[in-house]
Symmetry: C2
Subunit: 193 residues, 2 copies
Amino acid sequence: MGTKPQGSYAKGVERRRDLLRIAAEVFAAEGFEGTTLKLVAERAGIKEATLFHYFSGKQDLLTAVLADRDEQNSTRHGGSPGSLADFPGIAEHNERHPGLTALFAVASATATRPDHAAHDYFRNRYSWLLRTVGQDIAEAQARGEIRTDIAPEDAARLIVGVFDGIQLQWLYDPDVSMPSALADILRLLAVQA
Amino acid sequence: MGTKPQGSYAKGVERRRDLLRIAAEVFAAEGFEGTTLKLVAERAGIKEATLFHYFSGKQDLLTAVLADRDEQNSTRHGGSPGSLADFPGIAEHNERHPGLTALFAVASATATRPDHAAHDYFRNRYSWLLRTVGQDIAEAQARGEIRTDIAPEDAARLIVGVFDGIQLQWLYDPDVSMPSALADILRLLAVQA
DNA sequence: GTCTATATTAAGATAGAC
DNA sequence: GTCTATCTTAATATAGAC
């Protein structure tokens, strides 16, 4: 299962990067279901069969695109992603990329089925994200900045939940401000003056 | 567009009800993409073409199933659904129906595309839900039960966001308690003793 | 009982996945 | 190129109104 073993020739590495970028654009514009591998191959100037050399199928390509974007988002911010302080910035970034944001939203919901290619990816992602945010919360509690009448892991679930839930509302109504909603939940969690 | 005009013969009305129930079961078990209309028709003991007499297509069938379940959820509770007090009960109910919950989660994300058959359905649903919850919040604020340092409509967005976001986390990890998370966000919103 | 609306089906066109 | 799923067309059977 998963991405095929990576060749080491420079041309192959570059082509793979190209394919990830192009696939991300096409998925973002047409949606996952609306995309055909033929179209991705055409845009990349290769045959469909060549695509199958790099990715074992459509779902595998999707998973690779998601992981790649995640990694880019991480390195764009200092290097400690998922840190609580980065959330508003990530939300702002997402507002500027509606296609990719929708892709993530759809993928994270469809991949809840255990047989989906990206299932493990998202499960690990949530596990790591909740742990990281939970640690941030615990530290902020120790500093007396965040209320202690809620467990750190429960607060982390709320914050991540608001992030995903508001994103959905924003996709239906772009007037919604995702950074504001994140600021709201953080304010509710803050120790009262 | 949308569901075909409803016939008036008793047989047709009953068959349509049957189809909605069976389609809900199959969608919940196999997922929307994993379901074939042939299978739904077989389970109902009719030919595929007959299905098209009642629903104009697969997406239309999905929309009808979602709306029908929504209506049933509404009538199951006294009659004022979407009321804040019903949320924990609805969350508990959803925990007992993972397949349908996943169906809703996937559909609400995929229908963010304006050309999706269920787009208007979900947009209206969120609009109505946020308005209803917002009114509940405003009333609770007037009674001095909920903090007034957040606007009612913003608080409503947070609550609905937590509902959807936690649902996603629960689909990846059934140990998550959706009612607890709802209780947590309501506690953060409550006026401190 | 006849007539119209509705329900059902057979056969096949189209399109997308692999 | 082959196969499978969605959807059309057009013709037949049945339900219910008068």
